[in-house]
């Protein structure tokens, strides 16, 4: 049996989540990630390519088995659900993918695509399904005539609308959007972002929004987590992250946004190391312009700078309170090498 959540507890709670792919060498894609998202919030995950954003998103929806940690959704540990229960639970959590060309089944008409989640979850009768699908299509701004067409007949933006409609059709409580606009042109991106905002308001849904584009994340999210090498480097409310970023990585990222050259720090050197060879100490130590000897020895804990704003940097120690749980990676196998 799946319990109902109480209004106060967060909708989604991620505890010590870790994921290691393969064996030789193990790729530690996600390590000791903790966060929670309250009902109706938009939570942003940013970071460079390979920092583990998508993997986190997939772990949250349990499209991947975590190697460590657990995901509580509506108070239930997803890991404890049976195969069938999990499948049923999926109607409450949906995903939007980056590539609107690849994520739609091109052999299914839009009607089939949109009805499928209802069908497989046995929701509504045929008339009800039809009704619901048409309403949703209208909401995402597509004409009814679209129903009997196939994905290839639509542009990228339109397809992303269809993907959004599919994600919404079972009225889920959580949507994980993995770079939903990265593949789109600016003008279309703006359309989709506006649509997402509108829908979120009207459907009161909770959004885990993944993007590498700091401008988009800033625009969309209430809470933002900056990831690096599978770990959260800094997490906090949008204003805190963008106005008073603490972590050198966050600051460097912000500095790199094109056209907004205020340049607090020197340019980041080099590139993100491979997640199969994570440097000891602070994972960012290879590129950090402010790194000092401790960073090479010791994994920084998460320090709370202000309520809800935490940073995993030794430099934050002075300013912040160590949080209950150190940001350590003991739970993900294969570390220590």
């Amino acid at each position: 049996m799946v319990k109902q959540t109480t209004a106060s507890s967060p909708l989604l709670q991620v505890e010590d989540l870790g994921k290691t792919f393969g064996q030789k060498p193990p790729v530690q894609a996600v390590r000791g990630v903790n966060f929670s998202i309250a009902q109706g919030q938009t939570f942003g995950l940013v970071g460079e390519s390979g920092s583990g954003k998508s993997t986190t998103g997939r772990l949250v929806l349990r499209l991947l088995e975590p190697s460590a940690g657990r995901v509580l959704f509506r108070g239930n540990d997803l890991g404890k659900l049976g195969k069938k229960e999990l499948r049923q639970e999926r109607r409450h959590m949906q995903m939007i993918f980056q590539d609107p060309y690849g994520s739609l089944n091109r052999w299914m008409s839009i009607r089939e695509t949109l009805e499928e989640p209802l069908l497989v979850h046995g929701l509504l009768d045929p008339a009800g399904r039809k009704q619901r699908v048409e309403t949703l299509l209208n909401e995402v701004g597509l004409p009814k005539a679209a129903l009997d067409k196939y994905p290839h007949e639509f542009s990228g933006g339109q397809r992303q609308r269809i993907a959004i409609a599919r994600a919404l059709v079972t009225e889920p409580e959580l949507i994980v959007a993995d770079e939903p606009v990265s593949a789109l042109d600016v003008s279309v991106q703006a359309q989709v972002l506006n649509l997402l905002l509108n829908l979120q308001e009207s459907h009161k849904m909770t959004l885990l929004f993944i993007s590498h584009d700091l401008r988009v994340v800033e625009f969309m999210c209430d809470q933002i987590a900056v990831m690096y090498l599978g770990q959260i480097m800094e997490l906090g409310p949008r204003k805190a992250i963008y106005r008073t970023p603490q972590h050198p990585y966050t600051r460097a990222l912000l500095d790199s946004i094109p056209g907004r050259g205020k340049k607090e720090l020197p340019r980041l050197k080099g590139e993100i190391p491979s997640p199969s060879a994570i440097p000891p100490g602070c994972p960012f130590n290879t590129r950090c312009p402010l790194a000092f000897d401790r960073c090479f020895r010791e994994q920084p804990a998460l320090y709370e700078l202000s309520p809800g704003h935490v940073s995993a940097c030794h430099l934050a120690e002075a300013e912040g309170q160590p949080q209950g749980r150190p940001n350590n990676i003991a739970m993900s196998p294969g570390t220590g090498a």
């Binding site: 460079e48 600016v186 003008s187 790199s256 590139e271």
Partner: protein, 334 residues
Amino acid sequence: MTNISQTNPVLDVKNLAVTLTIYGRPVPVVTNVSFQVRAGEAVALVGESGCGKTMTARAIIGLPPDGARVGGSIQLEGRELTTLSKKDRRKLGGSRIGFIFQEPMTSLHPTLTVGAQLCDTLRTHLDLGRKEARDRAAQLLDRVGIPRATAMLDSYIHQLSGGMRQRVMIALAVSCKPALIIADEPTTALDVTIQAQVLDLLKEMRSELGLAMLYITHDLEVVSDFCDRAVVMYAGDIVEEGPVASILTAPHHHYTRGLIGAIPAHDEDRKRLTLIKGQVPPLGAWPAGCRFAPRCPRADEVCLKHPALEPFEESAVRCWHPVELKKKETSTLG
């Protein structure tokens, strides 16, 4: 067109038109494109996907796709390229024009070493021995910021990270000290941090070699502190051209305005983005008049006629109803 340097243009494109043959039917992809790039100047070619940016660039280097017809005139350092023999034209590539492609992973040879590829270009255009070419290649790699340059000569492209690959690409493009560099979205595939590094490098190379640069991008902001002028394309047409600063802050064409409005602004409470409604018309289905008219908030009957690119304030605009500068103050831009 007013406040650019008065030197002779390195690249002078006039009335460039590219027509492809699709299913046996001629389909225009680029029409009436004219612009100039002067020495030391960086010009941004901006536009949404499919508007013909890459096609323009490929026409300039003389490598349009099979079955394409190229019309108009292209002059490089005063030499007309379109009438050159294929062979002579080919020789200009790599020596006078350097080209940087979007995807370094696929644009560099997967089974030849980095050094071999560099040496090939060097030895084609410069009279160098094997050893000299190799030394030169190592210097180049070093110059573009690749550590352990000599060792890297023997590595393959798949052994390098994305940023390194693009650095190699840049080294290749500047290897023979060309007059002009055409960079086709060189940072689109890169992370922001790496993008910033690469842009820095390009900036350095430009000033160091006095290069003229045509920088193709879909993101206006990327070029704001990098390019001098911007040429905005829409559906094969240039719709606006002018100094980057002015285009970013005071766009005259409704399309340019829309593009800029669509970029999420910094540090504002969430409010909706300004939108361009509809979508880019597909190839072969361009409207007869102003191609932006179906999406334009200001469109009226006049717009059924194709407008010319007319000077307007400090820019040039292809619009019957250009946005005037004074109104700009109240616009949404931050």
